[in-house]
Symmetry: none
Subunit: 412 residues, 2 copies
């Protein structure tokens, strides 16, 4: 089954909202083993929507629409498909009842145009809307399956998970499974990583290997097709082992994880607490740490020492260090990490000091960053980075490198 | 000029990332008065990309590509367009130099495939990449303009703003101007705001008024069309004045601003310094403050007091307060704000304490948040919030309310 996802809505073409529906549905179809070859976004315009529909019919046999099922005049997805396919729109009693129920529940006043929402393509399977009024529907005509879903993600997503998913699965003749696994790397560039596994990329067929780079990280998505999950997973494991044997030192986790999640995990299993002292990152490391539920077990807190005063008075950095080496130095980074560790009575201290930009500081160029790490009963150390991004990128990369270095030291 | 935006990347079709590039570019084109009638997403596949290209040529005269300009084998946007248009790919010296410079700066290892990134369509205008390696390009052939941009938003967005925007503007024949202004509101719901300006929304034509809600904020985009910028701006000003007269108390800024930017601005003009003490927000307020260049003038730093120990030992919260009222209380919020202000010798202290979730705390339900504000020579106060979102939403909303309350107090 080859799918195309068509999002209908002028607000998308005006850039007022982003098409998260296509992402959600694509993930779902990837797991079902349905190929998605195109996403299309078109406005609330009958002729252009018809054109998009004809284009999709020429290249897909599953066409999924999101949006345009609302009560207003510019919601015309159903009407357009109805006239294109020559299928009447009929009122669905159950849908109408649930719309009436919705209004009596909320106490709002039901208007004539709300009845329009109960109209469905004659002969189609109705997908109930448990979080709104417009029902979804599925119908297959001349070998092409048309699925209509509402636009609001909070209605569309539960509708697809509760009803749409199974409705599609029933139509899949093939029993072929698709499994994939994402390997995550940090500290190596995309092109260098690819050079190291070039032969694997060359001869890839099944499983496939898809590299993706972003925010200083590189991921490899390994996707296998076979008759059973077990067979797929075995095929993936074989490729994975080969890749890890070559670039394992940069590998930090698989699938839905992140450097910060891995850090919280590794600190938790070792029952270690951490404290942070941040200058250029301004609290980003601590904010990310606390974005993870349960971080309270390992995170004591920390200090954002954005001025030299704060470094001296609150974080107790010695004048000697500030005068002799400056605040953008390995010495200062180490003292920050040790002091925040001791001030908060944590097992590990980490610090970030450097020049985020746009202006240089202490004669140090933008992108110069020192990360200090202080473990109890171990020699503290500082790592130097020379980053070349924007202010925002330099801050983000610094936090990622901090997690990367700490993870290395924890695992060693 | 009718535009179509084609995003190239299998990761989009697999649902690994969302197509924010289409949103960004659509916003830009809306402001330029260029109609965007379609977005298309296609994978890293030559034949399907060619098909998408042919479809776009049949319905648009400006085709903008994002993605597929990278160094790897599955980056084939340039190559596909080159063979489709019969235009050679030639190496651009400047681009090659900047790629070499990029590597020498970062000290990373340059590989053969990086040279591929310096290839451009012969005769095209090069759009320099100030945040990465792959240059963009623009060329017009047989009345159709093709623009190629890199995929990573951190590279694509500044490239378009610095070079792409003007390159398109030059090609626009029309002399009709489109100007728009976004008014930003916080502390009022979308539906309440709409009721207060219902009559204006009813009779809107030129200028148009488009409401949009998200993350607890509501914006109104006013868009006017006329022969000159001045005329547009006068039309916008009239509508704006009327709106502000009705809901001005919730208005905080216009166009590309944010609550945090306004806060930095207001503190700067008043020459006031600030310090923060954060529990549930874990440093998010301070991280956002320091994301703004120049925050160093007004931000001293702060404390992330994630445990009761840290509140007691580092932030000097009295045992009495913690025992009698608990850490999730207005009393604790006020003491946090006053203490961090005094510890860092700032003019203003702000604090965030509460229950982000998923679990309740001290018998307080998830979403209970206290924000403390302590100005010198003024009575300190705390505001209570009862939020109903996820852990992440509750943290973000808390920071926004903190900025909102501080701004109110500064302006009064």
């Amino acid at each position: 089954m080859d799918a195309e996802i068509i999002a209908v809505g002028s607000e998308l073409l005006l850039g007022q909202i982003v098409n998260t529906n296509a992402k959600f549905l694509s993930q779902q179809f990837a797991e079902m083993g349905v190929n998605v070859f195109y996403h299309t976004v078109v406005g609330d315009n009958e002729s252009r929507l018809t054109l998009a529909l004809e284009t999709a019919e020429s290249r897909a046999n599953l066409i999924v629409f999101t949006g345009g099922l609302g009560p207003t005049k510019d919601d015309l997805t159903k009407e357009t498909i109805s006239s294109h396919l020559g299928r009447k729109l009929v009122s669905d009693e159950e849908a109408l009842d649930s719309i009436k129920a919705y209004f009596s529940k909320t106490g709002a006043e039901m208007t004539e145009n709300n009845k329009k929402q109960a109209l469905i393509l004659e002969g189609s399977e109705v997908l109930p809307n448990d979080h709104g009024m417009a029902p979804g529907m599925v119908t297959t005509i001349k070998g092409i399956t048309y699925m209509l879903l509402p636009g609001p993600p909070k209605e569309m997503e539960p509708m697809f998970l509760s009803y749409g998913f199974d409705s599609i699965m029933k139509k899949l003749e093939t029993h072929e499974r698709i499994e994939s696994k994402v390997l995550r790397f940090f500290g190596i560039g995309e092109s260098l990583l690819e050079t190291k596994i070039e032969d694997l990329l060359e001869k890839q067929a099944n499983p496939t290997i898809a590299p993706l780079a972003g925010d200083g990280e590189v991921t490899l998505r390994i996707t296998a097709k076979d008759s059973s999950r077990e067979k797929c997973e075995a095929m993936i494991a074989e490729v994975e082992t080969e890749i890890i044997s070559r670039v394992g030192e940069y590998y930090y986790g698989s699938n839905e994880t992140s450097l910060i999640k891995e850090l919280v995990k590794e600190l938790t299993v070792r029952n270690l607490t951490i404290a942070g002292a941040e200058s250029l990152t301004g609290g980003m490391f601590q904010e990310q740490l606390t974005s993870i539920p349960g971080a309270g077990k390992i995170f004591k807190g920390g200090i954002v020492s954005y001025t030299n005063d704060t470094k001296a008075n609150l974080l107790k950095i010695s004048d000697k260090t500030i005068d002799e080496y400056g605040v953008v130095s390995g010495q200062c980074a180490i003292e920050m990490a040790e002091n925040v560790r001791d001030l908060l009575d944590a097992d590990v201290g980490i610090s970030f000091t450097g020049v985020a930009g746009p202006d240089e500081q202490e004669g140090m160029p933008v992108g110069t960053v020192f990360i200090g790490m202080a473990f109890r009963n171990q020699e503290s150390k500082a790592e130097r980075l020379n980053l070349s991004g924007s202010r925002a990128q330099n801050r983000i990369r610094s936090v990622k490198y901090g997690c990367h270095y700490l993870l290395r030291q924890l695992i060693e």
